[in-house]
Symmetry: D2
Subunit: 319 residues, 4 copies
């Protein structure tokens, strides 16, 4: 197969590295450059050999058909504009162009929900990791009108540390994180909230989302525990998800409760549902697990790039 040339801006972060690894194993893509300002000149080890990283300013953008930006939030938008002006397609992994963060109307790449508008799209805003876990779990109930109108949906979620990137930070040192657990960005202050609210609104949801993230002493993985007041308990608990996600290769509907280990290094979201017994308000508990670096970042970015480029959506992404 002729491989399509692609590049990665910001290849030294956790998501950027994961992306380069996935591209290296992708039968339809060819990694022609990878940038890393502070680590320019260093070799990036890949399954297929190694690549010398260049500074972002020095990237041969014009050689790529599609460019992934894994640059930091705030810094990405400008580079996305420069790349688009030069011609290549872009999948942007930062939050800069996601709903709620920009006035531009950029297709939001929650692939399973928005596939139709992503095919052949020249620019795609790749979702955040928490929104991927939470929205894919919640969407079937919202779309099918099963959420109690006006209710609060509680989304408590916990993430491994790679979600915070690999820049040196004292609070992310091993000595601070091991044997510890805490919430952060609580009270609906997290950067991922706007894209979740916008998407829920677009799906027709009349609900208030309360999102509380926590930091886990693990490297990778997100587990979201959703408490959803519903109009009634479905006779077949999983029916709403089966209806929504028939034949989706990257969505696993399971009966056992999912763990983050089940999804490690895999481009899937794993979802299980339980009835919350003993409450006056009919309520479902929905559990959703992803690998924050794969389905929550680089893997979903590959799904989106495949759609943008007219390749089979699952190419290079073994579930």
């Amino acid at each position: 197969m002729h491989r399509i040339p692609v590049g990665v801006l910001g290849a030294s972060g956790y998501a950027g590295r994961e992306l380069c690894t996935l591209i290296a194993g992708h039968p339809g893509l060819d990694l022609v450059f990878a940038t890393a300002n502070e680590r320019r000149g260093e070799r990036l080890a890949l399954p297929t050999g190694s690549l010398t990283m260049v500074g972002t300013e020095d990237a041969p953008i014009g050689q790529a058909t599609l460019v992934f930006s894994a640059l930091p939030h705030g810094a990405s938008a400008e580079w996305v504009a420069r790349v688009r002006a030069a011609g290549p397609r872009v999948v942007d992994l930062s939050s800069d162009l996601r709903p709620g963060h920009t006035a531009q109307d950029v297709p939001y790449g929650l692939t399973e929900l928005h596939r139709d508008r992503l095919r052949d799209a020249p620019l795609i805003a790749n979702p955040g990791c928490y929104p991927t876990a939470i929205l894919l779990a919640l969407a079937p109930l919202v779309r099918q009108g099963l959420v109690e109108p006006g209710a609060t949906v509680v989304a408590d979620a916990a993430s491994g540390v790679t979600g915070a990137g690999n820049s040196p930070r004292a609070d992310m040192l091993f000595g601070e994180v091991t044997e510890n657990f805490r919430a952060y960005a609580v009270g609906n202050e997290h950067r991922h909230l706007p894209e979740m609210r916008a998407t829920i609104g677009e799906l027709g949801g009349d609900l208030d989302l309360l999102f509380t993230p926590h930091l886990l002493p693990v490297a990778r993985g997100i587990l979201a525990t959703l408490t959803v007041p519903v109009t009634s308990i479905p006779a077949d608990l999983m029916a709403p998800w089966r209806l929504a996600y028939a034949n989706e290769p990257f969505i696993e509907l399971v009966t056992e409760l999912p763990s983050i280990r089940d999804v490690a290094r895999r481009n899937v979201v794993r979802i299980a549902v339980r009835e919350a017994r003993g409450l006056r308000q009919p309520t479902l508990l929905v559990f959703s697990a992803i690998d924050n670096l794969v389905k929550g970042a680089a893997g979903q970015a590959i799904q989106n790039a495949n759609l943008s480029l007219g390749l089979p959506e699952a190419l290079g992404l073994p579930a």
Copy 2:
């Protein structure tokens, strides 16, 4: 000071060991025996020396003024009855005699809430670890009538593995727990639910509790994240807790979000509160952290033993 002789039934589990260590450092108690059926004859290392563990049948019960039972759930009640019949006072760490588990009317030792009925009590049912974290955080809102009537209170909590004891179990092996996170006993099926419901009812609460525990890859610690619909947001968020817990030596009301590390090896519960902004229903987020083996088990048992024996409640328990 004359030391009061005490014994421990079930000293080889995590809670039993912690209890023996605390007793060894307690200026008013003297550990006269410790039992462990499978490890009888083994030495139990203590800061003050060591003690040879005996089989439970061989415990010289009559030598103790008070006996702690850290025997397994189901096995404890019978031994508690035998000890009481022989004379000594008992603090039972199992769930056997807690509200919702027995028809007997045994004082429930959530010390800060029930102190008056614990003084001089000959038998005390020591609370579970999750109920300690959740009820102490929730009680001020319930007692002060601030919870929205009929509302669901969502209690998502995560615990270290010592909460599951130290009997060999394949799902608790290091290789299964490291880099992992999952919920368990969901849908209101956990053994700790009855005592929480009974206590909330007794406090006059009109609410439905939805409790979802999770397993953390840490040895010790519990963090509970409570979502509480309230009648209105207090002008001073912490006022309900300050009112309820003035001068409590083992309750720490803090402004920073608590982490389990903050409370490790300490007999305290640390509580912080946030407003959940952007919701139609006024809602508070309450965070509560304890060490499951100390304030959630052995430390609180010492508080209760002190009350039963007429000693100062905080004796031997450095906060």
Copy 3:
């Protein structure tokens, strides 16, 4: 490609599971059965679907061209004999048929050292994990006569917990292993010592090996730190290894010190060498890292099966 039918005895342990996963991704092998006595009837999840495990007695041995035995030490030899009597080839992952453990002359599958006698071999004893890391690192010095005659070679090594299997054991509980580190089986008492001594002797080594294993709080990985008195320091430190291992796809000679993360989930051994400066006795430090479940068990077993079956040695084993 026509796939050759293979079976796995003992598929519920860590090595057995890893093996089944590797076979599922192998283009030349077809997994026709997997056995697990205590978990018979359970489904084994594989990348390519799932397989119901059967009891070992019920395995359709005759359907396989080659059978891997990942049965426990002591139990494997009998089954190997039964399988061989029935016809199929065998790669045995237990220690039962390794040098020093049996009077039989079974080819020892340290692939890079013994390739010639493994081609088409009907029965192969797959090496232990520690011997794989240690012998591949040490062999070039031994074979090239560079070890100081009569010297003691100190092999301190540390392994993740999956090396101990997944049977429930109190000392392998997460609560016991986290934040801990200790040696075990010291003083040359480890089960892996005989095969190391036998192999060193066969390579012509005149040295005494002192092997001290340690238990790491990680799931997988072994790092061996070898102190080797040598006749002289090579001008080019890595020359002995480059000479021995030219063109080996699964041996990585590196200049940076190897870490167990570098080799996780990969069928490689990574080796680095340093001179120990400031000693009267010329001495090399050799560092060797493997994934104990891959190059140290299931991956090497696939290498050996490929050789036994006449397939390309690296087939199904992406380095």
Copy 4:
């Protein structure tokens, strides 16, 4: 008891914090200041209350009878000189004034070996963590002439991450250290080597030390595994240590192999010995475990401060 006023320079690092906590619980010391340049103005939580940290330049040095310096290597020596010039005694936890690092003749505070020269000493260089574990384990063999003359003693050791301090470093992020293990500073390049060599020489040792440190995925603890060629195997393996360390409150000679958990948060070194069987050269394996922040830093500093101030050596240091 009248408490002696002391201060801590560099209270925001791991060792400095541990020191402040120990001082707060010490019945004979009163912490009158704690400095932290980057975190000046922040409150330091202590068991007995809290203290506001000041910049080092603003420390009221003259108010202290003794000052501990936990400043970084390189920065400490100058401050030690300033404090000494102002009058107070000093225990310096940095490497600046240890043997091999300075031409000054400063008493080296490996307490159990050098007690006589530490009593009333106005300035003491507190040992490094690795040297504490290694030298206390090795000294009895050296002093009693049992080490094979001219032999290489292999000291492989592994440490938790707090040994590297709490300044932000990318290689110490949780995501880099978890599930990992590696050697560092190998080939006798570690900063702790000079003080070990100097001390061995002073003890009359004719041996070459080969020290290889490793990084463990744990917060605290050091385990050293020493391979010591000896002139002969003692009939009673532990006799050399019992002879050397009779009645030492902080040295635990044990028969079971020590683990770092055994010594966590305790001011002890735990030592066990094994014969290395099957070697031509009589050889002992000596295992030594400490908490790097307690016996390896802050705890030993308190021992030394007690001696400098004429207090009982063990005061404030529960073993």
